[in-house]
Amino acid sequence: MKIGFYPGCSLTGSSREYNESVVAIAKVLDIELTEINDWNCCGATAAHSMNEELSMSLPARIMAMAEKQGLTEVVVPCAACYNRLKVTQHDLKDETKRKRVSEILQLPYDGSIEIINVLQMLEKYGAENIKAKVTQPFAHKVACYYGCLLVRPHSILQFDRVEDPQSMDELIKVVGGTTIDWAFKTECCGGGFSVSRTDLVAKLSGNILEDAADRGAEALIVACPMCQSNLDMRRGAINKVIERPSDIPVIYITQAIGLALGIDAKELGLKRHFVTVEL
């Protein structure tokens, strides 16, 4: 199984462990990841907050590069990048926008690449495979947190249900875990305000953490580096604003699966978290 791979900036820096765990489980599951050559940043929230054309051009270059490389399907683990790429692909169906962007890029772009997130990759290529390869069932009660960018806007992403999505829960069940039914699956963690408005991030992430902890989750499972860093790195700030400070860890779905597949915690980057992971 071969598939294109766009890690994005976070995965090479502050969310290295996400990258490490994706690569680690891909290896075990025989998924060959081909990184896009000379990829650039997708522009994230900053670009589309500041300039529409910029926000389309950056993802368009990434996809143009992938096309050039002959890739047909690209997995994008970072939910923010996934969202930007999908939305840009959608926006560029508009003839005038596409014209303008190819003018800027001076690269051919035809928008034919299938962009999928990591959950879709695991569903598509792994569910049965994973089940067969589980060596240490992930016997924990966890809260699956999807955030915004993985499921919205539904009309464009067409992934899972808008409210109360299930795909991550299904994967956790495959590796032997149980998931709680909770209320903040798709509520925003504060996203791009991580640095600029830490106070708001603490409030929003706090609500999420509190609900999960109240309902007895042993860990939060995520698929987005922004959510992870807000919920993990900002734990100090969060614990100042919530009533009952919490020390439940926040781990990536790929890490959870990795553990079940018997991959070493260090290889999965579990030592890189701020909140200690003891699962």
Binding site: C9, R16, C41, S49, M50, E52, C148
Partner: protein
């Protein structure tokens, strides 16, 4: 008439027809930051519906457009499928263009600018550089004093930026988009 024109511009850029909103308030009810905003989303819609210049300027000068996280809960639930996040994106660029900026926008814009600067030169995000530049722009020297070293220790920060090869294209993208707008203004 000038501000009616603004509404038309808004529609042609974002496809948002402000008159479709019938003020049910569902966007506001579900907005995670509505309470921190000068005007919650449904109120912003109403201000736009009035079509007056005063109200348009009120919106550009409010923190609402800057606090919007584009989490899209509002769009997902709006019975009339009004793309409020897209509208917020547009209003932000208009606020910058017209230089009507709420104080709350400063750190947010600074962050965005630092972010974009970082990728403009290297093609990828240089997180250490981003934090440094952000601090310099906002004079928040002490913020995250403990986090950054911890990140470094956990291997989460690179000391040197990663650079892509084709930096010419990156330069061109910036020159033809965001910088193009700036020169137009001048």
């Amino acid at each position: 008439m000038e501000h009616k024109g603004k509404i038309t511009d808004l529609q042609s850029h974002t496809g948002v027809e402000v008159m479709r909103c019938y003020q049910c308030g569902k966007c506001t009810a579900g907005c995670v930051l509505a309470t921190d905003m000068n005007f919650p989303p449904s109120y912003v819609m109403r201000l736009l519906q009035t079509g007056t210049k005063e109200n348009y300027i009120k919106i550009l000068g409010s923190n609402s457009i800057w606090l919007c996280l584009n989490c899209e809960n509002c769009l997902g639930r709006c019975p009339m499928e009004i793309d409020i996040p897209k509208m917020m994106d547009y209003l932000r660029t208009q606020a910058i263009k017209e230089n009507i900026l709420h104080p709350d926008s400063k750190p947010i814009i600074s962050f965005h600018r630092s972010f974009l600067d970082s990728i403009k030169y290297t093609g990828r995000l240089y997180e250490l550089g981003l934090i440094a530049e952000f601090k310099a722009r906002t004079f928040r020297v002490t913020q995250d004093l403990t986090i950054a070293p911890a990140m470094f220790l956990k291997g989460k920060l690179h000391l040197l930026p990663e650079k892509i090869k084709d930096r010419m294209t990156m330069k061109r993208i910036f020159a033809k988009t965001i910088e193009n707008v700036k020169t137009e203004n001048k």
